[in-house]
Subunit: 475 residues, 2 copies
């Protein structure tokens, strides 16, 4: 019996037949990500159903010297949940751990297992008259465990923060196979180092998150949505100021899109229609929301837009009337990523700079990209209210896919290098995964990397938890 | 020349005459805390004016094998910033590092040095039309560095979170004397382990925080405040539900007080007056706020209170009219701690349980305390909206101070043991300092303490950063 078969047999003892996948065909869905951008091979795929089973799997893999690759809904963008090509790693899928363990409407908390899909958490909260505010494109398949491992962001960060801000407690299986029960539902707890913070955003390199206590909020009962045409990113930043001044913390969404981004959706999105007759270089989608019903948000938004016209900030604007129109406007925003696929390879980047630096950052980055590839199509869009842009790139029309793909690293460098002068980040919300683990060393100071390696060494001295992700050389 | 004099001379070279205090009389203000509850001796008190000077001090102390005790405004409640009795430790006061380095109203961030007093940050934000929401009794002297080191809470947590939630970036001098520049003003940055989280709440045991980038919010422009009489803690929890249901996220303050707490203020507070003719067992102070002017909050609050009367939740209530009355009501809440001092020794405790567990927790804890000390006066009050109670105790009237003080540990155990059944915490917002470092081992599971000790060992293998705080035996 080979070592792999020996480990498989032990894993089967630990998780049962239902928890083990060894058939190549059945494994394949776990070995390549949803975009087919990253993939690998695995010794086996294991799907434990309880925290104790996860702990047993981690212990058995440790004894066998096999690396563990935790995986959730497989919707990541940086290959963080994909095994390498060796065929020796074990993929640990959390998708059978899908219980909602508790919902306490008075404490405003929900306790869920790692494999629960984000949308189910949103729905459970809504059924209890509460809001779980994390919201992102992949919410129908992304799991809470993956959201925690990557500290997910999305469209609600402006008002509610990232997944980190929404988390009160964690349960984690550490690399030594022991279970740390930090499932506390407390809003204040100052009793030493806040260990849970290390696991959030660590992409499974320090342990396997198996459950979490998450914050709930009062339900949102009014919304107003506008689509605004603007001459420039500076105008978008000015508009944030105006809306924030006049609408205060009712401003809960502020998304920017370049004309190029919207153009792709208009070309490829089913039923997509330009709200305006004229073409404008930039657009924003503004959302106000309120926890009270009939909160007069349309009027408030119209007042802010009138001020924006008065100050020559906005070129055109429409406030959505009715939920169908709201959905149509959001579809223009949410359709960008898919529409871009029709135009050849998408080179995706996900950066942040301080909001006040966005105009200069965009000008400088666009100029450098156009100098490198004349005719390049820049699909810049994203959560400008958080300083976060998805700076995606498509080839010049009619040019070769392969030639464009071959320049991916060079073009990524242009975008990432451009963040430097603004104390920005080369990963706002997608994490490092494997794609950026290889280059983060060029963008973070050496001392910070040294401290990160120290933490990794402390928790996972054998480098068996998701090796090659976040940090290339942990030692 | 003794070793101490040698270190003093080197420190003087590093920080200049203005930065060194060796005179016993001048040192005394740094060697005992504001309540005179904790105190010690020091080799010297050093007051560096820049980050580089802090780094030099830490390096020199390390070379001399002298422990460093970072200190801010000296308003802590657990002795976290006090040296021990050896006379060999160096107190590092951050109070000369008091520059506001930057305020970016567009990015909604402020960058401040550790020694800036909290109230100055609030004022600087207000002058820019923004809100810095951390608010607590000691804000006129507590420093941002101390707020960070203890992850301060206060009365704004319900809506805005703790100091941790308000922090985007840190600058820290590590125990090896190197400076980590993590002063990023980004709302999203997922590029590896979030190291700043380790230093927040670590009470100076992992390094010295020298500066921070903090979040600002839209200014608050409307407020409504009510004082409500209630039959029980259960009624208070029910009232949170009613106000939250009808006022949504405009609920920004919810403080509870036992009659005993209010009684002390009425007896000792200058000008304090009971808003009601009848005596009630519990009170809450409810605050709504809004970022819009003229937001109709009084009417909203009255609607919620009417509902509370209809459901027999509230016994009496008054909505403050005008800022003078608001101040009078808040004085009843803020005056408790001082008023209690007139009644003999105050045994202070600061605990959290899930909000839904508060009624049972109070009933059980009160019963155990009264059984232990018949006639004991229980001054329970605090941020019930966060599940956080200050469970303070005063002796039975006419009994001996010393006899009561002698039972401090026993009574603390009763309060802390009571949190166990509710997955609570023995320190909500005050930290562990030296007082709770000695007992936290009995309330946290051994594995979590082991992980904490690992982190301490990683960052501070020589155990020279604030030894004896947070963890008693770091090795």
């Amino acid at each position: 019996m080979t070592a792999v078969h020996d480990l498989q047999a032990r894993l089967r003892d630990a998780v049962g037949d239902a928890g083990l996948i060894t058939d190549a065909g059945q494994m394949s869905g776990y070995l390549t990500d949803w975009r087919d951008a990253y993939g690998g091979r695995a010794a086996t795929v294991v799907r434990p159903a309880t925290t104790e089973e996860v702990a047993a799997v981690v212990r058995l893999c440790r004894e066998a010297g096999a690396a563990v690759v935790p995986q959730g809904g497989n919707t990541g963008l940086c290959g963080g949940s994909m095994p390498d090509a060796s065929g020796r790693q074990v993929v640990l899928s959390l998708t059978r751990m899908r219980r909602i363990r508790a919902l306490d409407p008075v404490n405003q908390t929900i306790t869920v297992e790692a494999g629960v899909v984000l949308q189910r958490v949103q729905e459970a909260a809504a059924a209890a008259g509460r809001l779980f505010p994390l919201s992102l494109g992949a919410e129908g398949s992304a799991t809470i465990g993956g959201n925690l491992a990557t500290n997910a962001g999305g469209t609600g960060v402006l008002r509610y923060g990232t997944m980190r801000d929404l988390t009160l407690g964690l349960e984690v299986v550490l690399p030594d196979g022991r279970i740390w029960n930090g499932l506390r539902g407390l809003r204040k707890d100052n009793t030493g180092y806040d260990l849970k913070q290390l696991f959030i955003g660590a992409e499974g390199t320090l342990g396997v998150i198996t459950a979490a206590v998450l914050k709930l909020y009062p339900a949102v009962r009014s919304r107003a949505t506008a689509w605004v045409a603007l001459p420039s990113p500076q105008a978008a930043v000015d508009l944030i100021g105006i809306v924030s001044e006049l609408c205060g913390d009712r401003l809960t969404g502020f998304e920017i899109m370049s004309r190029q981004s919207v153009d792709f959706v208009l070309r490829h999105g089913a039923g997509a229609r330009d709200p305006f007759a004229a073409v404008h270089p930039w657009y924003v989608l503004v959302e106000l929301s309120d926890t009270l019903p009939d909160a007069g948000l349309d009027g408030l938004l119209e007042t802010a837009l009138a001020e924006a016209f008065d100050r020559d900030v906005a070129a055109d604007a429409v406030v959505a009337s009715g939920s169908a129109q709201v959905a149509t406007l959001w579809a223009l925003r949410e359709g960008i990523s898919e529409a871009q696929n029709f135009e050849g390879p998408s080179l995706k980047h996900d950066v942040t700079v301080p909001i006040s630096s966005i105009p200069t950052f965009v000008e400088q980055t666009d100029r450098a990209l156009r100098a490198a590839v004349p005719g390049i199509r820049i699909v810049a869009y994203g959560h400008i209210g958080d300083g976060n842009l998805h700076y995606n790139l498509s080839k010049p029309p009619g040019s070769s896919d392969d030639a464009f793909r071959a320049r991916a690293d060079e073009l990524a460098r242009i975008v990432y290098d451009s963040t430097r002068g603004f104390d920005g980040s080369i990963s706002a919300e997608h994490g490092l995964g494997q794609s950026k683990a290889a280059i983060i060393g060029d963008y973070k100071d050496g001392y910070e990397l040294e401290l990160m390696r120290g933490v990794k060494q402390l928790f996972d001295p054998g480098n068996l938890m998701n090796p090659g992700k976040v940090l290339l050389s942990p030692g």
